[in-house]
Symmetry: C2
Subunit: 206 residues, 2 copies
Amino acid sequence: MRTHDSVSVLIFNTTSHCFILVKQFRPAVYMCEWERMKPAHAEPEGEQGGEGRATDAPEEEQEGSEEANRPHQPPASAGVTYELCAGIVDKPHLSLEEIACQEVLEECGYEVPVAKLRRITSFRSGVGVMGAKQTMFYVEVSDENRVGEGGGQPQEGELIEVVKVPLHEAMTFAYDESIPKTMGVIFSFMWFHSNMAPKYKISTNV
Amino acid sequence: MRTHDSVSVLIFNTTSHCFILVKQFRPAVYMCEWERMKPAHAEPEGEQGGEGRATDAPEEEQEGSEEANRPHQPPASAGVTYELCAGIVDKPHLSLEEIACQEVLEECGYEVPVAKLRRITSFRSGVGVMGAKQTMFYVEVSDENRVGEGGGQPQEGELIEVVKVPLHEAMTFAYDESIPKTMGVIFSFMWFHSNMAPKYKISTNV
């Protein structure tokens, strides 16, 4: 599998005191939920431990139905995840910062200069499968920087919704396990709490 | 691709005041570094933006060498990553907590009861490729709980070294980008700082 390094950006809107996230339909997440719902007899032969995986499936879905042999489908919402604005590093003539700014514009509609980005850190993502490096940035935007709707590039198959999370609800959001999200969201909110919250003299209800 | 949910565990040794991590050779990380070192003419046709990817390769590696057509190999250390003790959820008869305890024993050599685990949170891992759910736990161990060497299961191809990171160096370690690590390490150290450090009345040099 070919992998690319990536960038992610924690965006904080200083006008509305909200974090700007993207809500995205992820086929991989959806397929994972679909696997989880499969009745046991529809389970394909997996290499390890797959044989009893579907014990979570509600029993009523496994009996007496005409569709017993047709795997049930989870709703589309099961594939939706809250994530940081992010993108892969696939333009060798651009710096990480420039790519990050492009993603902020394309996905979230804010135009910000490279100089406003602050590097948080970098790490390995998906070491089991991919192993590429992700660099995480922080950027402050204001309503005045909003020049478009965001939403990603539909021609590239992106299905992105821009979402605001108020600062005072951020840590509750981060630790609410019923809201599907990436670790990047939780980590960056916590980073903000430790490094930025004092500046805004605002409690982030940790 | 078939994916599994996973568990990860932040282990804190209360005897030595160290975090217990695993240092692991990751083929995917190694291959990623290997791709990074490839001279441009050895670049396979990738689907997106792959054509100029190898501009990072040092120029001297591309000229006058008999091995010009043989891609250079990074040292094995390039594939090593510091990670939380972790494992996939592939035993349907065991709870997440039981699997986590098994990993703590197998990988790090500490025997701890399920009741000592504290759930930190859960999130989606690798949403672009996998989309499975990872649940993160925290557990305190002492030298008395050490019953083995750890190191994983060589018969399963695991190459794991147990590593101690002293608490007072933890945040420096977390943000040292020259040390390859997963976001889970950084996030969990930060979580400890916010949630546990006061208990130990110790500065974690944030």
